[in-house]
Amino acid sequence: MIVTGKGGVGKTTVAVALGLRAASEGKRTIVCEVAAQENASRMFAHTEVGFHEVEMEENLWSISIDPDESMREYVLLQLKVRAMRDMLFRSRIFNYLAAATPGLKELVTIGKIWELAQLDRKVKSGRKYDLVIVDAPATGHGVGFLQTPRTFASIARVGPIHSQAQTLDRFITDHEHTGTAIVALPEEMPVNESVSLERDLREEVGVAVDRVYLNGLYPERFKKEEAEKLSALAENENGAARAAARAALSEHGRARSQRQQLSRLKKGVSAPVKTLPFLFEPELDVEAARKLAGKLG
């Protein structure tokens, strides 16, 4: 399951919520972060997990996929002769090339995700997961990231990496086993970006989007007539009553404009849209994600 979307929309929270739900259903699940992010482990108030599969809760694991480590692991799996591997890792030119080749980092990151999703794990002592959840990079880089295998397969027309890139591309576009979710916020820009992201994923990457989560939807706490009453109160009162009325009007206004964005989103995307409530909580920790887990539908 790939979770994607614009920056700051709550991808990690949704990814962790999906993980919590799957884990509670008894599925052995892992949440993968890319580009050395540690947001998921931070939600669990866990120390950094790094490039290790670490159990956060029963059935729920987490890993932060570092491209250099993935590259190392990939080479280890490719080269059986120890002396050759050692020389390669010591070689400055190899490290340089690996860093300089466009897209190689993204490719080996996706390679690691693929490896985690295999029933027959490639790494020693790796156990199979029932579900692998990917907290993908923010949009912009997001489509590029998922597109890497396809691009690579066309650049490297021959050699082992060509066929491996093709395998990864098939893995990403295999709709039977790989799902994609977009996370959006009920605001102008995130809605626009989600609409174009869905189109780009479909047309450029060949990925079908299963669901769009509209995160952070305010409740409709007040009716229109009530808002009018509160406007009068805000104008005529002072102190706490005025402040409370102002806060209520602000909530009312946001809730309404958010619903307009919701209907724009529904019109703009072809995948079903599921709304997730705004959580009036100071910090989005694992308990917040647990609340969302029950509402994922």
Binding site: G7, V9, A36, Q37, R42, V75, M84, M87, L88, R90, S91, I93, F94, Y96, L97, A99, A100, T101, P102, G103, P137, A138, T139, G140, H141, G144, I155, A156, V158, G159, P160, I161, H162, E187, E188, M189, P190, F222, E226, K229, L230, L233, E237, G239, A240, A241, A244, R246, A247, A248, S250, E251, G253, R254, S257, Q261, F280, P282, E283, L284
Partner: protein, 383 residues
């Protein structure tokens, strides 16, 4: 507490940086509008702006060059426009192509680079090229000297660090010193650097496939005549970024994660000896500190005033939720100010409407450019 006007005094470049989703584009546009209104000729360089924001600035048909925003559009918002507001949307690929055309010794080398598949990858897709080209465009506009102030909206990197290091990474890649050897793997260089290199190359070839390697070699060959020019230019760009006339503003949101990233990014700026100006926190729930004592019997008081107990209860609940968020924001911002040891922390409230037009920008400017006293008043007013 310093105001934005004090921070930007005498600056010719303002770079807005921060992680994705914190409102950098909007903030950059608002700063540019505000400074132009005060009488400067300002250009905002933006990347991927909201469609409606672009429309409202008249940016839709913009290419990779600056256009003037019609002052009438801004004056319609009740703001007197004493200067000029210009805007452009950055096209990283086009900027890169222009740069190649400028650096190439002749047309043939230019075309060899432009046609190379590795180049096409780098210029359009490689993470870091957008950042590099944003700097490049900034440098170009600064050198031409047509503006009093340039405001740069940095690309949406998830990790703020990328933005500072990407240009360096990219120039290193282009310089490719250790790769000279790789252009002629069987030549003298290979002999000098020893067997290790050729074996490493052999293995690399095996893994990535020969074609890619040939493309890379071709890329470096085509680029070889331009390396010195690139290096010299990169040095001047770096010098400009560190110049006292440049000012970095960190943009963030009030939640824990964006605050942590702002702290981290500030540290990186200091380490890189880049001039930090201040921090702008967007979407802040303004506090109602002085009211906390009265809140105890609020439901009853509201019920009396509204004549509706159920409604009063909901209003009070909503207010309590809002208070909790505003307390969190205040806590996070205190922490931020302490970590950054800065007196310039500008809070922009979470407005009731999305900001995506000139009206919204001028609304934000009221907070961005407020003096310390005005800010206190506005905080009280919102609460």
């Amino acid at each position: 507490m310093a105001s934005l006007n004090e921070v930007l005094e005498g600056k010719s470049i303002c770079i807005c940086a921060g992680s994705g989703g914190v409102g950098k584009t909007t903030t950059s546009a608002a700063i540019a509008t505000g400074m132009a209104a005060q009488g400067l000729k300002v250009c905002v360089l933006t990347i991927d702006p909201a469609k409606r924001l672009a429309d409202s600035l008249g940016l839709e048909e913009l290419g990779n060059e600056a256009r003037r925003v019609d002052p009438a559009l801004i004056e319609e918002q009740g703001v007197e426009m004493k200067g000029e507001l210009w805007a452009m949307m950055l096209d990283a690929k086009a900027t890169f192509d222009e740069l190649i055309a400028r650096q190439a010794p002749d047309e043939e080398s230019r075309d060899r680079v432009l046609d190379n598949r590795i180049y096409q990858q780098i210029s359009s897709a490689l993470a870091g090229s957008q950042e590099y080209m944003a700097m490049e465009k900034l440098f170009e506009l600064h050198t031409e000297g047509g503006f009093d102030l340039l405001v740069l909206d940095t690309p949406p990197t998830r990790n703020a660090l990328d933005f500072l290091e990407a240009p360096k990474r990219l120039t290193q890649f282009i310089e490719g010193k250790s790769l000279r050897v790789f252009m002629k793997p069987t030549g003298l260089a290979a002999k000098v650097t020893g067997r290790g290199v050729s074996v490493a190359l052999g293995i690399f070839k095996k893994i990535v496939g020969f074609d890619l390697l040939a493309d890379l070699a071709e890329f470096f060959n085509a680029f070889s005549g331009m390396v010195d020019g690139f290096q010299a230019r990169a040095k001047r760009v770096n010098k400009l970024l560190a110049d006292p006339e440049t000012c970095f503003l960190v943009v963030c949101g009030p939640q824990g994660e964006p605050i942590d990233e702002a702290v981290y990014f500030h540290r990186k700026l200091v380490e890189a000896k880049l001039p930090f100006g201040g921090v702008i926190v967007n979407k802040v729930h303004y506090p109602a500190d002085e009211l906390r004592t009265e809140v105890e019997d609020l439901p009853e008081a509201l019920a009396e005033k509204l004549g509706d107990e159920k409604l009063a209860k909901r209003v009070a609940e909503n207010f309590a939720d809002y208070q909790a968020l505003s307390e969190r924001d205040a806590r996070n911002i205190d922490h931020l100010a302490a970590e950054l040891r800065t007196s310039c922390v500008i809070r922009v409230p979470y407005l009731d409407e999305d900001v995506h037009d000139l009206h919204g920008l001028t609304e934000i400017d009221r907070y961005l450019f407020a003096t310390a006293e005005e800010r206190v008043e506005m905080a009280a007013g919102r609460a």
